[in-house]
Symmetry: C2
Subunit: 229 residues, 2 copies
Amino acid sequence: MTNYKFNKKRKNKAIVLLSGGLDSAVSLYSALSESYQVSCLSFDYGQRHKKELKAAQKIAKKAGCQWQLVKISLPWKGSSLLDKTKKIPRHRKIDAEIPSTYVPARNIIFLSFAASFAESVNASAIFIGANEIDYSGYPDCRQEFLDAFSLALQKGTKAGTQGVKTIICAPLVKKNKQQIVELAIRLGVPLELTWSCYSGGKKPCGTCDSCILRAQGFAQAKMKDPAGC
Amino acid sequence: MTNYKFNKKRKNKAIVLLSGGLDSAVSLYSALSESYQVSCLSFDYGQRHKKELKAAQKIAKKAGCQWQLVKISLPWKGSSLLDKTKKIPRHRKIDAEIPSTYVPARNIIFLSFAASFAESVNASAIFIGANEIDYSGYPDCRQEFLDAFSLALQKGTKAGTQGVKTIICAPLVKKNKQQIVELAIRLGVPLELTWSCYSGGKKPCGTCDSCILRAQGFAQAKMKDPAGC
């Protein structure tokens, strides 16, 4: 599973959205376990935690997959994930409210690029680590959004209108963080390479939503986090 | 309609996807005629006809609107609209076949950015010059795609899940090119500033799909094209 030559021999292609965090890494290994030939796609979108991109690159390399970085600009700032003058929420009670780290239409944009990439290389699936159980309330992480987007792809791409359905796979969407950590262990995900923290510091802050959810998952799975989060 | 101060006083905001061609310019003026405060959005996506961006900027300025340029890269080339080693089809019979100028998921990507922009500035509408009558067969120009994408926005954005619907307006989608030219005249669109040709030369080539469709519209409307196409 970790050899590119092997990966290249696989018939069915998939594009995996790889942020470099826990969920996207598990999503990648899920795609590999389903025998897809995987190309990973990451985005430099001005996020303060650019460190995740190095993590993504290392994870893709370790898994023996191609890695494609796309740089995009979102000049209409406003999210605390993009704007360093804003504060990342700390020790937030994870509830239904959408936090300031929300980047408008982020997954919509990412999936659009993935759809373009998929159609260009005849990939039949797009994997995304979206999760709507232990998550920050971002609406574009929910299955009902993914279903609607999938329909838009069917109607709006050459492949879709010719009857070739590009499946959007979200293997973690209904799993809680404990189950995600347990799946990561089962699939051999190199957890030590993943980076989840929003803050962009040298070490994970331990207090942002992403660190809190990650720690919760490892605690519930009774595992030590090998990335030292 | 062509004064920015006036434009700024308008209450309802709209994002207009402005390529710089005939259809998007008419779409812009449709938005203005519906009393929207408009911000125009254009993309440098590696198209060989970059000249359209200068046209877009001039049209936005003339209309008194803000203009935002977003640069994106689509590293998975393949379309003849992006790849100069490929030939743009000439004198093509415009039929149901999707030509080599098709860029996978292009409007999906553009609309995703527009959705992000719209949500950031609380715009209630996105205008796109998509047209499914006299067009090149691109699937992401059809109303059924736009409807599906609209649903994805409702499900996948903070605004959408909070009941604020971002309308996708395609005022030209069911018009033929003659009707579009006639509407352009009625709305006072500065047609002399528009640029439709795919080829990227100094003058319109007159033989690509876009030039053929444009010429057809002016001929049917019994009008001379002021851009000299």
